[in-house]
């Protein structure tokens, strides 16, 4: 599993499960992929895992919102 950390112009920075980064060409991602999307890499193709993305986002928003002071 990878997460889109950010886009830098024509490149995308992905975070792997150990928190390490790799930089890939943005056009190798689905065209509707957004920052924060979880990706599955299978047979040389990246696709967005929208179920995992939603679940992860909800968990993080819960943690984040418990901290606003």
């Amino acid at each position: 599993m990878f997460i889109i950390e950010r886009f830098e112009d024509e490149k995308a920075v992905l975070e792997n499960e150990s928190g390490e980064h790799l930089v890939i060409i943005r056009k190798n991602l689905p065209h509707n992929a957004k920052e924060g999307d979880c990706l599955i890499f299978k047979n040389g193709v990246y696709s967005v895992d929208s179920v995992l993305t939603k679940k992860r986002k909800e968990e993080i928003i819960r943690l984040q919102d418990s901290l606003w002071g």
Partner: protein, 313 residues
């Protein structure tokens, strides 16, 4: 040669010299007017400017070299502020740099926006120092990051028993009787985290320092539309000097005497962009870069500012 004749020749020479002087001044003025030559820059290069004379001030801004990332430390008489940290890997060097200044407490820690090259090192830094407030932008649910980097940052805040202070535009933090930090952005919701960057102005006496995080043209445009007070002496240019930041209109309103670009040598993103550098040089008499000069320290006595560099780049 008769006396009469000599006077006539003298007069002709004087007239010629006067005409020449008028032409030279006109040409110099025109070059300046059309931005072809920046005399302050020229004087500065030939050592006639006093801008870089060391200033014995009680306020300093440290643009810490973290390679491709951002990290700025503000040290005022009473308080310290850390804006960003660079990547996770940069934390040890940033911690020892801050400790080498005898600092044990960071009164304000600002994570401009949740990208790893800005907040990656913050968890370890938060663990290592006494921390006042941690300030972060309130990002829309849609744009909330899902990265381990962000989880680690949130957990570090939680584990230290701290809260997150949302960046509120207009909020002012007094750093000492002469120094104030004011939050200017984010002014809107955006579809890129860069534009959610906390933009802040630190005013020390008459000197003003603008910190852009990774804000790009959308945030710059909103700052202009809101008539935000962005006129500054020193600009930390947005997004590592990328072409998507530092627009002409924005630079014209900031009119920074000096600009700083925080960027890593040979980075994967071709930062800084040559176009952005050229735009900045139209308004700044000098541009300093962490990839060339290393850590850049700017000192101010409230009127004058001076720079010191880790390396001569």
């Amino acid at each position: 040669m008769s006396p009469k004749r000599k006077t006539k020749t003298d007069f002709k020479i004087k007239l010629l010299l006067l005409a020449l002087a008028v032409i030279i001044v006109t040409v110099m003025y025109a070059l300046d007017y059309f931005n072809i030559v920046n005399y302050e820059r020229v004087f500065s290069h030939i050592g006639l400017s006093d801008a870089n004379k060391a200033v014995d001030g009680d306020f300093s801004v440290h643009y810490i070299d973290v390679g491709q990332g951002d990290c700025e430390l503000i040290v005022s008489k009473d308080k310290t502020v850390l804006i960003d940290s660079g990547e996770y890997e940069n934390a040890p060097e940033v911690i020892s740099y801050i400790q080498s200044l005898g600092i044990t407490k960071l009164d304000y820690v600002i994570g401009t926006h949740p990208h790893s090259d800005h907040i990656g090192g913050l968890p370890e830094i938060i663990q290592s120092f006494d921390i006042g407030k941690v300030i972060a932008p309130k990002v829309s649910g849609k744009m909330t990051p899902t990265t381990k980097t962000y989880i680690n940052f949130l957990n570090a805040v939680k584990d230290k028993g701290l809260k997150l202070t949302p960046a509120t535009v207009g909020e002012e933090y007094q750093l000492d009787e002469n120094t104030v930090l004011k939050i200017l952005a984010p002014l809107n919701d955006y579809d890129s985290l860069n534009n959610y960057s906390i933009v802040c102005m630190v005013t020390h006496g008459e000197n003003k320092f603008l910190f852009m995080g990774d804000a790009e043209k959308e945030s710059e445009t909103d700052l202009l539309e809101k008539n935000a007070d962005i006129d500054a002496d020193v600009l930390k240019a947005g997004h590592h000097g990328s072409n998507s930041s530092s627009t002409m209109k924005f630079l014209s309103a900031v009119s920074p005497l000096y600009s700083v670009v925080s960027v890593g040598a040979d980075n994967s993103y071709n930062h800084p962009s040559e176009k952005a550098i050229q735009r900045i040089l139209k308004y700044s008499k000098d541009i300093y870069r962490t990839d060339l000069q290393g850590t850049i320290v700017c000192t101010s006595d409230g009127k004058n500012i001076s720079f010191e560099f880790e390396k001569e780049g």
